[in-house]
Symmetry: D3
Subunit: 290 residues, 6 copies
């Protein structure tokens, strides 16, 4: 028994004790104040950590163990409730520091808007950056009911920032007509409904490029992820999403950052969504960190 | 702000304000008094409307928006609790009036027995009527524990009414031996387990005919529709059901009425079933109303 | 059957069809973006209306029926997700118009911060205004983690606006030490733990004055209101809260506005909280509107 | 181990194996087809039995053990789904036979309407019968939306059958104005809001008389019984209801039959309602069967 | 009506009344004391029985009815809470007796460790025994945190007992690296991720042999079985599991015993897991008992 | 931002960072393997910590803040699943070390059996020890279905260890007849049903003595603590339990250790039980640590 240091419970399984020695930093962004439907994703990161104790540290898909990847679970970034702009600034500063320290950011949301400042910060370091986006929704709105800071806008923002031709969306099955038109007119890639097959076609084109991968858990069918803000029928299975993560692992893209967002535990009493998210995080760590 | 008229909340998204100008009428049939297992579908229609605010009005499957379809959400039909016969009479009168007014009926259940008076009323107008029925259960009983009015009987009733050879069931995976035998002996079509593939074979045979489509949400696997009275493993995915709706949309049948029944919200804390039902209703409106 | 007007479902039972003829206006303020713990009260007003169908229109406590009180359920005020300041401005404008039209405002939250613009608008019309506040929490913070717009601040704001000596809090069992000190040093009334008995002492002192009553549902013990953002043990019973409403009804204060806030349905699968809230609204209507 | 007889699981704890030797018969009436709000009480009896394994067989209130009372759990009476009249006939026949066999009936609902045929059958044997009724609701309607067989009518029916002056209601806090008026005009006793204190006053007047006690679980506050069809705030505690049962046990009335109705398990994930009901049944057995 | 025998409710549908005349005995093993994550499978067998009333007795997959199979539901084996060794001894004795009586054992868990004494007892009678194991987890640990009796060890124990070459695992997607290595080094068969296709390859090799089939419900994806102790994304569908059961039915193996374990109802408010389990039990009875 | 040390999330609010400087140590005992009814209390301590962020650090009851009490949250003691004896040994060793280091133990269960080794260890240091026990159940069994290590036995064990005359139970409303008799015959104090009033009588008699207080959360009525293994109607309110804690705080007993056990979060979707437990822990820290 050791009583000489603070209890560090609720850390993602296999987290390395040292920030300095770690290559990847895992962090939560507990923000859900701009969601238009069901809030609650602020509690996603904590619940994903909590249920990770039910996971093995070994992946039979990748034949690799978490001890082979040095990563540090830095906890949740404290964010000011109800203030989107200040929250985004805090996240951007946080990621800037991680990148300055040479770490690869791996984030857990929170609503999808949190990905915007992360992608912006990553884009500063990697001018050749491409975005791989898996989601049920386009997230290409300019604003939502008058608000430019909304969980429906992050992909539009990054697309305008780095050029729509560098953004690749997969699994999309919901959006406004105008969003699909904007993507088409501006050369942004959207694969509707499917993820794995179109990804296999796109990945070779991105070989050698730095890539940021942002996954909205609602790309999964509601059967596989009931615990999220906006469920939308007709999605992919968790088996397909795992295979997509493994496809990226096998490809020649260079994953320089990633996130998994929109896990909202309260809507899923069985906690399957958080459990699935924790397995996805493990596979992202084992598959994408070389 | 307008205070000069009654608040009309909880209407299905995109409902047109005028009954007269609408081509389709959407209505709820909040009855669940004859169910033999878990009641609660009386609250299905209200919950489907409520969660429809999480939906987009545009379908990327059909490239069509709800504003292109004039439909009127008429609310729930008030039905007398515990009296099946009076309830069925009220429904039949209601549909008669809709049809007299030249409207296409689109109903939300309630238990499956509510489809019987609707189909009967529709059959009066369309002597050539065929029924497309998607369900986990045959619903071909003559009676249930002595009761001829039961949620297990509506397909038997309509089959006897318009001739079993005009009824096509898909996705069936549960029933008594006698029910399957009756169907076989009487020339009624039953596709066991599958929906999409057998539907592709049958639809050309129905080209040009008026068709009523009745969908029991439990045709979906319990993973995709836990919120229903009788869940039964081994069903189809919501992706397959969406594709089946789209297959009908592409075919040359003439959909003259339809319903979606047996959503029982209390058994699904995540509300995925009601959300899925609301997306199905949107696709039925966008795909079947020309 | 009437199809000639839009379905106006999900209205609080007994709502009068005409805004003009109504004395009271009932409205929802579906905002929860500044809450520091569990969000979800945006869905409170809709659920309170929905479950009101389980209520009788007659109160055996007050021997009065809803048809004796003309009130109009105006639905929810549309508020911009994630923008507290714009939301508060919209609410204040809305209340200004209600008051200009001579209506008594009766609001349903949403988080407690929504009460601030309402109380401010009411205070413009009634310079002698006193506030009766029932809550588990002081809500007297100046800011919360740097944010002056927070669900922990509304009572501080109104106290500073109309003078702390005009604010009477009851049932308080949680707050920072500094909040209790501020109240004490500034002459604001706080009754800790209890509501009914101290209310009986205070009400005579307020005789003849215009009073705004703001009730946070968490003044109830979690046993009686589990469906709220921040539950706090040791609260009062629903019987005591009903008696407190009736005590105000019997008193000589002039209730010029009121609200009931912080019902968050997702945390209460039994829906007892929303049902209780709908009964409280009925008693407020029957008891406080002469 | 004995394999030579059918497994008899899910019997209420302490049930005696022999019908013949038992003085009391416990039975379920799994009917909920006339309820106007939330159905589900058909599953009440089974769940009450199931959770009874968490109970001790000894009551420290009464210093008595279940083995001192010979009672037989006869299971649920099979009732035809959706047919109220046939269901009531079956129940009445069932009770007639029990009474013919000299048994005391102890029933579990099911909706409150099931009490009507039981009380009618008991009244045939005991012309001096009085009814003690504990409930949140008057249940004195003549009909509900045109239906004379409704869960809102059983007390009216028995009051008209044996004379309103022989019916004593306690704890009532909801009803139509007309129901309270009918009771008043016809000499029926109603104690509003409270049970224990008015019961202490009434019991001596009933000394020596045969009494049937019907308890609707919603006489309890929703905090104590969330798992019921229509929750209504302001009710009594389970401590008070236990004390009321014990008060009857100490009195000189002769309990010739009783029931506990309206437990609807699906609305109570914690199962406290079923657990409380099973304790109430134990105390009724130990306190009322001499 | 018959009152002359004990109520035998909550028996699996179609259970034969006589142990002597039955070929198969169905029993529950309500033990969950060694689970390392979420307990609760002790309530699995009772809930599976309870929901079986929602099932038909006929299988349209196998065109066979339960009345064609004589089986006896013997209830749950009483096991001492918190004592794994004594529990396992009791189970082994129980199975020994069943086998002595010439019955085929069909068990319902409970945690997976309960399969160990059953398989050991069966192996005594059938020296040629092979094990077919469907599971998300290897269950090949020697001990768990120092405990040799753990829900993570049963397959290791039987593999060491009858020889690893006689054990065939399917659907495995989680385990320690050492477990997979042990299997590989010792000639045990593991099919990762898939069940149906590899089963088709293996079954012909087992033709004519006595086989015990042990199914952990978590071989299903969490979407299809949220109600279990350790959910793990990427599993098979219930459709695939049904097809696998039917594949065994069509094969030439001789099923001499089987079980279905790890249903933990509390994690699944929709009860789809228990419903699915009850359908699987029906198909196992109809398909495997000749 | 500091990245130089491990994330120490999920610590009870206000925990001091140093074990050495702390006077009290808070720890979890996540064991539930001997419970006879509903397991799940292993997750109690983690959930109590998690929800403590919703609490203020100041108590308006005691006018004291957590920063005035130096306590260290040491996390959960790792216990071997399914092995009661080894678990109890580990706990006893752990407490021995705490006491050697001069710390006051404050434990969170887990099932009630965990209190036994703690009390035994404390009794070694304090020969004059008295036990104050608040619970719905006597917990005085010698064994449960043959097992001497059961959640029904801890009070019997400590009573036999330090003498029954030194044990004071309050709020007891369930147990076997033999348990009550044993207490009576052996001079152990049991206050049935009530806590606060009998406590006021007993406390003066214990003035100056070292006291260990063990609270089973089920002493609360199920309305106030639905999230526990065995709910039992007729309990006390959280207000009364808070007052009882404060009564001890005001008394002259010397609290040398304490625990709060049997919080089982899964049975309480609203999380009121864990929230209440976290408030009770705060009041125990603020009231009992001088």
């Amino acid at each position: 028994m050791r009583f000489d240091e603070a209890y560090s419970g609720n850390v993602f399984i296999g987290s390395h004790p040292s920030y300095e020695e770690s290559k990847v930093v895992l962090y939560g962004m507990p923000m859900d104040w701009t969601v238009s439907y069901r809030p609650g994703s602020r509690f996603g990161p904590a619940r994903i950590r909590e249920v990770s104790i039910g996971l093995e540290e070994y992946s039979p898909y990748l034949d690799r163990e978490l001890e082979e990847v040095k990563y540090f679970d830095a906890g949740d970034i404290p964010l000011p409730f109800g203030n989107p702009q200040r929250s985004l600034n805090i996240i951007e500063d946080y990621i800037d520091q991680l990148l300055t320290d040479g770490k690869t950011p791996l984030g857990m949301g929170g609503e999808h808007l949190v990905s915007w400042p992360v992608m912006k910060a990553v884009a500063k370091r990697y001018p050749e950056l491409a975005i791989i986006h898996m989601d049920a929704h386009t997230d290409l709105r300019e604003e939502y009911e008058g608000e430019p800071l909304s969980h429906s806008t992050p992909i539009r923002k990054i697309a305008e920032h780095i050029g729509p031709e560098n953004v690749y969306s997969f699994g999309i099955r919901s959006g406004m007509k105008e969003e699909f038109q904007w993507a088409k007119e501006n050369g942004m890639h959207i694969s509707k409904f499917e993820v794995l097959e179109p990804l296999k076609e796109i990945l070779p084109k991105l070989a050698g490029r730095p890539v940021y991968v942002t996954i909205d858990i609602d790309v999964l069918d509601p059967a596989h992820a009931p615990g999220t803000g906006t469920v939308d029928a007709g999605g992919i299975t968790s088996k397909e999403l795992l295979a997509s993560i493994h496809e990226i692992a096998k490809s020649e893209v260079n994953v320089v950052g990633a996130d998994l967002v929109e896990v909202a535990p309260i809507y899923d009493p069985s906690e399957q969504t958080a459990n699935t998210a924790s397995k996805l995080i493990r596979e992202m760590l084992l598959g994408w960190v070389k």
